[in-house]
Amino acid sequence: MVTPSLHTGSRALLKKIGNFTLSGYAILFFLFLYVPIIILIVFSFNDSKSVFVWQGFTLKWYARVFQDARLLLALRNTLIISVASTVISTIFGTMISVAMERWDFRLKLPFDALLFLPIVIPDISMGVMLLAFFGLIGMAQGLGTVVIAHVAFNISFVAVIVRARMASLDPRLEEAAQDLGANEWQTFWRVIFPLLLPGIMGGALTAFTLSMDDYVITFFTSGNESLLSLYIYSLVKTGVKPNINALSSLMILVSMGLVLLSLILQRKGGGDNVGLM
């Protein structure tokens, strides 16, 4: 009778160790991810030129961010590019999603694979590729080329997100609309579009975030234009100053807000049980 109880005792102990290790691992994982961010944000309020010694609370680095004319120009350019590439890639990405889900055509499978290639291609290859391409067609580098480059990768992200939503739509809903006298155009705007909207918004917000903080592809395609991610990098080259902390904190805040919003929108749509009614 001794052996089995000892056996179960050791089993329980093993389980305890396992649980302990696992939760320890989880804690380490989150520390690893978020401690740098927390440090960054904390020191953005540090009243000292030195980045690593706490001297007291201040908002002056934030004020300085908004007094920096070059930074504001970079921000303006970045916003123009993000908005333009988001709008264009959202429209085309949505159109592609609807087409890919509703129509069968020859070469659909290879087209499908090609469509999602930009997601897996290394940014550096994509940057070099686009640089060569713009050089080849003789297009001067500037905001225009950056927008085209951003659209090139954003379309894929939008398409993936919107398509997931499209796939969950019951095709009977479109048939019902047509049966009730709606032509293809009316069916799209009255039935498909409103039901896809959470997915489209999610795709657009993702595209916007990706466009905002892209560095590599932007670096290869922007020529002499001043852009936010490039500007931050140039500041770091001369040493990390607290105003970079402030700027980075702001960008993290905006990115997180957008990602959160996009998740909420997609979640909200998903809970609808579209088409299963």
């Binding site: 809903l173 047509q178 032509n183 299963l276 009614m277």
Partner: protein, 362 residues
């Protein structure tokens, strides 16, 4: 108007790749008729309905709605509306908006839309739910919304694709009667797809029994049930005894068929089912058309009672007629079971009217 049918299918076939979903069928559905397409899944009934709706274009043949050839007219230009099996209510619209959708597409004036939507919801007893979303309603209520959404457009033909399939048995029974009543009230032609033979018998004016893309038999519920033409139809609709034998003598449409060379039974051959003496035939007879009599009775065919199953309203008997042939007999439990006349092992006589036994065409 005598020759104009609500829906006419002339030599219609539909192929998906090499798969023949519907194979050269001809149907004439009369104005105001409740017409059912009945068959197991994959028999082509839903494809047929979808061709009438315009969701599928026939590979061959001519499809006419009130005399007008449809060709590849898109669904939104056809004078028909569909009630889908899944209801397909628009989840982002309220019940009122769902029902108004068709009228908005037809550019009906706003005032009239409000009025007609109100009436339609009134008819399905959902007037209080106009501002609810579909997912707030029960399955039965959603089903009625789907019906209202289709009927509010006053279509010339209403197509219903197993509309009661998702409801539980009790609700389904209630809705069957309600649907039939509604069809009689509005006077619109209903084309109804179902795999439920009882549902088809209960509701239809006429039924087409389908299988593997073919129409096996078309007729009123009474014709389909009482005079099945083929083994498939006899078997699919209700319960049937099949007796194999050879024709012994013919007297008009009365035919005597010898079973196993032992018992000669009386049956009826329809005018279009030719029989000759000596021919091998199958006789179909419903269990409830056979009466069970004591063994010492003069009329009937002698047999032995080998099985007795009490099923509430009825008792089901199996009577061995010859070494190889037995029949199921069903009798209502009119007398209390304690006073049962028959017991397994008894010698009995079974009897039927020759008109009840049909010689199958195939």
């Amino acid at each position: 108007m005598a020759d104009v049918f609500a829906v006419e299918l002339i030599g219609i076939s539909k192929l998906f790749g090499k798969f023949v979903a519907v194979d050269n069928i001809n149907l004439r559905i009369k104005d105001g008729e409740f017409y059912s397409l009945l068959g197991p899944s994959g028999c082509g009934k839903t494809t047929t309905l979808r061709m009438i709706a315009g969701f599928e274009v026939p590979t061959r043949g001519d499809l006419r709605i009130f005399g007008k050839s449809m060709g590849d007219t898109p669904p939104f230009k056809r004078p028909v509306n569909t009630v889908f099996q899944s209801y397909a209510l628009f989840p982002h619209m309220t019940i009122g908006e769902n029902v108004a959708f068709g009228l908005q597409m037809q550019k009906v004036p706003k005032k009239e839309i409000t009025q007609r939507v109100g009436e339609a919801l009134e008819r399905v007893r959902l007037a209080d739910y106009a501002n609810h979303k579909p997912k707030q309603l029960s399955g039965g209520q959603q089903q009625r919304v789907a019906l209202a959404r289709a009927l509010v457009n006053r279509p010339e033909v209403l197509l219903l694709d197993e509309p009661l399939g998702a409801l539980d048995l009790k609700l389904r029974k209630a809705m069957q009667l309600e649907l039939k009543q509604m069809q009689q009230d509005v006077g619109i032609t209903f084309v109804y797809v179902t795999h439920d033979q009882e549902e088809a018998l209960t509701m239809s004016d006429r039924i087409a029994v389908m299988r593997a893309g073919h129409v096996y038999q078309e007729g009123t519920p009474v014709e389909i049930y009482e005079k099945p033409r083929t083994r498939y139809v006899a078997d699919f609709i209700g319960e049937t005894n099949f007796l194999e034998g050879t024709v012994k003598s013919i007297d008009g449409n009365r035919v005597t068929v010898e079973i196993d060379g032992a018992v000669a039974v009386a049956a009826t051959a329809e005018a279009d089912v030719p029989v000759t003496v000596g021919q091998a035939v199958t006789v179909a007879i419903r269990p409830e058309k056979i009466s069970l009599l004591p063994g010492d009775t003069e009329k009937g065919y002698p047999g032995r009672l080998v099985e007795l199953v009490y099923i509430g309203t009825d008792t089901r008997y199996r009577v061995q007629l010859t070494d190889n042939a037995s029949v199921i007999v069903r009798e209502q439990n009119i007398v209390p079971t304690g006073e049962r006349k028959f017991h397994t092992g008894d010698a009995v006589q079974i009897h039927w009217s020759p008109a009840s036994a049909t010689i199958l065409a195939e």
